[in-house]
Amino acid sequence: MEALYLLIPLSTGLVFFAIWLFFKASDSGQFEDLQGPAERILQDDDNTAD
């Protein structure tokens, strides 16, 4: 049970970290287009002349 004394503060910190991460992603436009990336992943870039 003693582990909880460590885990609970840790989980709290983790949530704040998640919020920070989400804000960063939101600022960079991660949630603007929820359709394009899903389709883009289907494209195979290996055989282009790049």
Binding site: L4, Y5, S11, V15, I19, F31, T48
Partner: protein
């Protein structure tokens, strides 16, 4: 992928000889545009596009040179708008022609190879392309050109501030929702052990730690996510009204405050789980509502962007066909403009050269393309889809049909229907009563069982749902209005939906409403051995160059039924009588009975049926034929009349035309009560008399001549066309020539009212059960949070069902063609 053009998939024209070698196979192309685009794609090493695409590309016309108006963006002052910092620039472009995921890949690939381009991001769902580039290495036109080379069109996107604002609001709400959700989940984790643990199994230290952690995690939810409620409550209080945000904000504050005190003291109940969940669920229904509202605004927004910014003016037409690109706002009446296929028409005008099809779906809600030829009038905002045409501008952009429409829409935006105002005021009283009730409940429990006073008061505040009450009406009305705009029905006055379903009498005007307002050939009666079609051919030959409406009706009927033409020479007309001309050297006359009788030399004993305008054809000594013309009845008029009769409404025809003409039309449509020869004052008096007898009258007219009676009726419709619709006094404007839109509107009005009633009923029943239950202490705060949020969401979702209402199955065949010729 089919046998057509390999690039765009369209059929090959017979003389096509273009081809491009793709992946070692020669592929046929339908036009130089497609071939050039395909060639570019191959040369860039992007053939993969063809392997991966799941739909054909858009047809490429006029690839190659960038249209001159887009070169304007290279000017230093135009480039300023793209400036990011000293070295870089960025722009958001609107893209046309995206068909599938492969397009996204292709465009991004192509652009990353433009020297100087640093970042490219194409949003497939909004069709917007974001580009950042180095100013020293490339110009905006290089980017636009690169996109054009591979067969797409890009334009700098006019970032309407309104749109940006909306998006920011949506983004903020989404963030608040996310933070609330995250903190709710975590707080629940800490709350569950406390709920589940048996007495004494959880040590005090551990419980204290979890309470502190919950407190910490609730802070972002209360201080950030709940901001909209606090702001709303503050605004409400400053205006001295009680809105629905007041109890919400109070509930959150009370629950959070009590919990903080409890944590500080180390004893007492904490409600962090309830607070976070309440905030999260309430934000969910807010978010839903925002999406609904934005969708409703979509149809109107599309209209606002329908007019293109630039136009191709033919400065020296018809002598020269040189084109200069000017801003659409600079066009003046009398200017000649060239409209290419695929372009939107920049101003109202008349076709002076060419023939094409146009898509007017934005303006009228009618999706079928309409054929337009020389002399026809095109409204700005329609899209030319077939051939290039030359137009003579008839109105400046500010007076155009579209501008008139937008003015109407603005007018429509103001004002709330009575039922919405009623719901608002009820909600306000409800909140006041609720606050008093919460205080009373608190006082009672304080005296009865002090420990339970706080949680019960909080539960009462939270469980009550003025939100559902306030959301019930506006969401439903917004959804219905959006649905109607997309069908070509514009609601100007807010009370339409509310009143329409209660109407008892539907009064129709005749000319231009039940009928199309233009004569059409109804029947040909022959008097001699010459057959009907031949007579019609002769008549059409004589009338070819006449501008008289009767003449045009005869020519139109002849064009639609006959092939091969007869030619008439030396045609002379006598005003108000008719005309005479030679066919194969023999003189013929076409006109009224007296005029033709001069040539035939003998009178004709003839009875013309009621409602018909006769035109006679004769030659020397012989009467040949009589053409019966009448104002054609709209093809869907009968079904609309039947529809309303079936609903038990009294359908009345009120016309300024002669009694027998009105009677004829009424008889055709099955309208029993017909009043002809009514002056505008008489129409007004008639409607007012009906109203005095307690009738609720809907009036359908053409908007201009019937202004007074339209204003007097409880609810009115105008058949809108052209710029006149800005002056219309009707409550509703039908933008399409479909009369059945009225039946659609009535149906939708009935559904809207039903849904509003359902919503209000649900909100009432819910509150009647939940509030007493909370006051009795049967519901704890977290349960009440769920209850109230679910009930709000239910109301919004119920309203959204209106968006999916289908058109009535009233339509048959073409929408406004006259009755077929019965010769």
């Amino acid at each position: 992928m089919g046998t057509g053009c390999y690039h765009c998939g369209l059929d090959m024209p017979p003389d096509a000889h273009w081809s491009v070698r793709i992946d070692g196979v020669d592929r046929a192309m339908c036009c130089p545009g497609c071939a050039a685009a395909a060639q570019t794609i191959v040369e860039m090493g992007l053939e993969d596009y063809y392997r991966n695409r799941s739909a054909f590309s858009a047809k490429v016309d006029g690839a190659g040179a960038l249209p001159p108006e887009l070169l304007l963006y290279d000017l230093p002052q135009a480039q300023e708008q793209f400036e990011l910092d000293g070295e870089h620039a960025e722009a958001t472009l609107t893209l046309e022609g995206i068909r599938c995921a492969a397009c996204v890949w292709l465009i991004e690939r192509r652009l990353t190879r433009v020297p100087g381009v640093q970042a490219v991001n194409l949003n497939a769902s909004t069709e917007r392309l974001y580009v950042r580039w180095s100013k020293a290495l490339c110009k905006p036109s290089d980017i636009l050109q690169a996109v054009r080379d591979i067969g797409y069109r890009a334009y700098p996107y006019d970032a309407a501030r309104h749109d940006a604002q909306l998006r920011r609001a949506g983004k903020t709400l989404f963030r608040q929702l996310f933070v609330a959700g995250l903190s709710m989940m975590q707080v629940m984790m800490y709350a569950i052990p406390a709920y589940l643990a048996d007495d004494g199994t959880l040590d005090t230290d551990m419980a204290g730690l979890m309470r502190w952690a919950s407190l910490l995690l609730t802070i972002p939810a209360v201080c950030y996510s709940a901001l909209p409620f606090f702001r709303g409550a503050y605004a409400n209080l400053r205006q001295r009204v009680l809105g629905m945000d007041v109890p919400v904000a109070l509930g959150i504050t009370a629950a959070f405050g009590a919990s903080v005190v409890a944590v500080w003291r180390g004893s007492g109940e904490v409600y962090f789980d309830s607070v976070t969940m309440f905030i999260f669920l309430l934000l969910c229904s807010r978010y839903l509502e925002l999406i609904a509202r934005r969708k409703a605004a979509g149809a109107l927004e599309k209209l606002q962007h329908a007019l293109p910014a630039s136009a191709a003016r033919l400065t020296a037409y018809p002598a020269q066909r040189e084109v200069t690109v000017v801003a659409a706002a600079e066009l003046r009446a009398g200017d000649y403009i060239l409209v290419k296929p695929g372009e939107a028409i920049p101003a109202d005008g008349e076709i002076v050269s060419g023939e094409t099809s146009v898509d007017m779906s934005l303006l009228t809600g009618e999706s079928a393309a309409l054929r337009k030829r020389k002399g026809d009038y095109l409204p700005g905002g329609a899209i030319n889809i077939a051939q290039a045409v030359v137009l003579r501008v008839s109105k400046v952009a500010a007076d155009s049909t579209l501008a008139a429409l937008l003015k109407l829409i603005e007018r429509a935006g103001n004002g709330k229907p009575r039922i919405a105002m009623w719901a608002d005021s009820v909600a306000s009283w409800f909140v006041a009563a609720l606050l008093l009730f919460a205080v009373a409940v608190f006082a009672f429990w304080q005296w009865h069982d002090a420990a339970r006073a706080w949680p019960i008061a909080i539960a009462v505040l939270v469980v009550s749902c003025p939100c559902a009450l306030s959301l019930a009406t506006p969401t439903a009305l917004a959804a219905a209005t959006d649905r109607l705009v997309r069908q070509g029905v514009l609601i100007v006055q807010p009370h339409v939906l509310e009143v329409l379903h209660r109407t008892t009498h539907i009064v129709f005007d005749k000319t231009g409403t039940l009928t199309i307002g233009k004569p059409a050939l109804h029947k040909v009666i022959t008097f001699d051995e010459m057959e009907g079609p031949a007579c019609l051919q002769f008549a059409a030959a004589l009338e070819t160059n006449s501008a008289h409406p009767l003449a045009q009706a005869i020519v139109a009927a002849a064009n639609s039924t006959l092939v091969g033409a007869v030619i008439a020479d030396e045609v002379v007309s006598r005003a108000g009588q008719g005309l005479e001309g030679l066919v194969d050297g023999i003189p013929y006359r076409l006109g009224n009975a007296a005029y033709v009788a001069e040539l035939t030399g003998r009178p004709l004993n003839d009875r013309v049926p009621a409602g018909m305008t006769p035109v006679y054809l004769g030659c020397s000594g012989t009467w040949l034929a009589r053409f019966d013309l009448s104002d054609a009845i709209r093809s869907d008029a009968q079904q609309v009349v039947r529809h309303f009769q079936k609903l038990g409404k009294n359908v009345i025809l009120l016309s300024g035309d002669q009694q027998d003409v009105a009677q004829y039309v009424g008889g055709k449509l099955g309208i029993n009560e017909v009043h002809g020869a009514c002056l505008p004052e008489q129409k007004l008096a008639f409607v007012q008399a009906l109203q005095q007898q307690g009738a609720i009258v809907a009036m359908v007219g053409d908007g201009i001549n019937d202004a007074a009676v339209l204003r007097a009726a409880d609810v009115s419709f105008a058949m809108g066309s052209g710029a006149e619709l800005a002056q219309t006094h009707a409550d509703t404007v039908l933008l399409s020539p479909r009369l059945s839109a009225i039946a659609d509107t009535a149906e939708l009005a009935a559904r809207t009212m039903r849904i509003i009633r359902q919503n209000l009923a649900w909100a009432s029943v819910y509150n009647l059960i939940a509030i007493p239950a909370a006051a009795m202490g049967w519901i704890n705060p977290w349960m009440s949070g769920i209850g109230m949020s679910v009930s709000s969401a239910l109301v919004v979702l119920n309203a959204l069902r209106l968006r999916r209402v289908q058109r009535l199955k009233l339509r048959t065949g073409p929408t406004h063609s006259p009755h077929p010729l019965r010769a």
